[in-house]
């Protein structure tokens, strides 16, 4: 049925119906937002996994990753053996005022040293203070959520099978 003024009444009805419903406002500072588990809040670093391969720093399109390292010599354990050398990470910093959250560094890291954390409350009053050092990046690692569960019936991850086989060889009970 159509009559003059029907559209006007419809407009009033829509606003009135919206008023009786709950508003969609996110009460952010009072209530924390529910972020999806893989949201790109901040990049966290597991220092122990980093081998200073510099892949992340080189792939970064914004050049926002700073890495300093030095070579450390481990003396040979056996007589006449060769001294081993390894890289020691001195500085790992990400300038989040330049970072564009493209995720290339996280994807390119061959040793899973970089992860996305949903943490986002790291605003600063000075742009220079947005360069965060490895200690801060390590702390954010605690806020990284566990990886999503595998699909039902999926093959277990390669690392897990390898670890289980190694444990069996040593005669330790496996879970």
């Amino acid at each position: 049925m159509s009559f003059p003024g029907k559209g006007l009444l419809k407009g009033l009805a829509v606003t009135m119906r919206t008023m009786t419903k709950r508003s969609v406002t996110a009460h952010y500072p009072d209530a924390l937002p529910e972020l999806p588990p893989r949201s790109r809040g901040v990049i966290a670093l597991i220092e122990e996994n980093c081998t200073v391969c510099m892949l992340c720093a080189r792939e970064c399109p914004a050049w926002c990753i700073y890495i300093d390292s030095h070579k450390d010599t481990i003396p040979a354990t056996t007589e006449g053996g060769r001294d081993k050398s390894r890289n020691v990470l001195d500085r790992f910093a990400i300038d989040f005022s330049i970072c564009m959250y493209c995720s290339i560094c996280v994807e390119v890291c061959p040793f899973d040293a970089l992860h996305w954390s949903p943490e986002f409350e790291y605003a600063e009053l000075d742009i220079r203070e947005l360069t965060h050092e490895k200690e801060r990046l390590r702390e954010w690692m605690w806020t990284v959520p566990a990886p999503a569960a595998l699909d039902e019936g999926a093959e277990p991850a390669k690392e897990i099978t390898t670890a289980q086989k190694a444990a069996e060889r040593q005669g330790r009970p496996t879970p």
């Binding site: 009033l12 009135m16 919206t18 008023m19 508003s23 009460h27």
Partner: protein
């Protein structure tokens, strides 16, 4: 002496209502409009759901610098907010909310209120002219065009109900009111409300302050307390228009237990109309200048002339 005290008391009550009720309407607008748009509106000022938001706004406005543009006509520029605001205060004096509960009962109350409400628009016009700013001037001209177009149906709608009641006294009109007038005077009520909205430049008739085109129309150059006065005038205008619609067309204090709580009925009806003012603002987009003029001259004026004829026939039939 007692007479003087009574006059002072009445003036004080009207002044208090004038300062408080527009703020209430403003708060209702903040919250109702927010929820109609699925927001929550102010939440912090005053602690509980932002009830003191407008008080906080007022404090902020008072702290602002008093700026008058160099090229402005200083006297007119400074007078404009007062000219815009005071008529509504004066109009409030004559609006009854209960039998005898009125600032000053005038024999020609309706005539007085309608005349005084027209003056309010002059304040906006003065602001637009004296600001020496093209946006202000264009806004002022639009205000003038709008006033010309809508004053006529506004006054004719008021005349219709005065004809029906056979008096110009607002108290007299309410006393003559009958529930079936809701039907008989329905077109006049509609025209009165719509034309009133247009005179107050309330959305959807806010083309004079259309922010996308004219910054803020006649108020562009105003800031601080003067700006606050213009905004207060807008809300006081809503109160006066709502109260007038309630008194003229919705029967004022008529309702169950009107002998005891008649004044509550008037206030409730006023509040309802004020809510509709807010509701209409949220629901409808702004009318274009040509649509605005067409609605007045091709819609409201013929409708209200038809209403006048119907009222005249009704009066003649009933008196014979």
């Amino acid at each position: 002496m007692a007479e003087l005290v009574e006059v002072l008391l009445r003036v004080a009550v009207v002044l208090l209502a004038f300062l408080v009720v527009p703020l209430l309407v403003g708060q209702v607008e903040h919250k109702a409009m927010a929820h109609m748009q699925s927001r929550v509106g102010p939440m912090y000022a005053g602690g509980f759901h932002g009830w003191a938001q407008l008080v906080a706004d007022g404090v902020k406005f008072v702290q602002k610098e008093d700026v008058v543009p160099a090229a402005a006509d200083r006297t007119v520029f400074k007078m404009a907010p007062a000219v815009a605001l005071l008529p509504y205060l004066v109009a409030m004096v004559a609006i009854p909310i209960g039998p005898g509960l009125v600032g000053q009962d005038l024999d020609i109350g309706l005539f007085f209120v309608v005349a005084v409400m027209g003056v309010g628009v002059v304040g906006t016009l003065m602001g637009g002219w004296s600001s020496a700013n093209k946006f202000s001037l264009l806004g002022g001209i639009r205000v003038a065009a709008q006033l010309m177009a809508y004053e006529l149906p506004f006054v004719l709608a008021a005349a219709s109900v005065a004809m029906a009641a056979g008096t110009l006294s607002l108290t007299g009109i309410v006393e003559a009111w009958n529930p079936w007038w809701l039907l008989w005077q329905a077109p006049a009520a509609l025209v009165f409300f719509v034309a009133g909205l247009a005179e107050l430049q309330r959305p959807p008739f806010d083309i004079p302050v259309a922010d996308a085109e004219l910054v803020f129309g006649p108020y562009t150059e105003y800031g601080g307390l003067r700006f606050a006065l213009f905004i207060l005038a807008e809300y006081a205008g809503i109160v006066v228009l709502s109260a007038l619609t309630a008194v003229l067309f919705l029967g004022g204090w008529h309702g169950p237990w009107e002998d005891q709580v008649g004044w509550l009925w008037t206030l409730a009806k006023t509040g309802l109309v004020a809510f509709v003012v807010v509701w209409v603002r949220v629901a409808y987009p702004r009318l274009r200048e040509d649509q605005l003029q067409r609605l007045a001259w091709q819609g409201l004026v013929p409708l209200v002339l038809f209403q006048l004829a119907v009222t005249a026939i009704g009066v003649v039939v009933m008196s014979s």
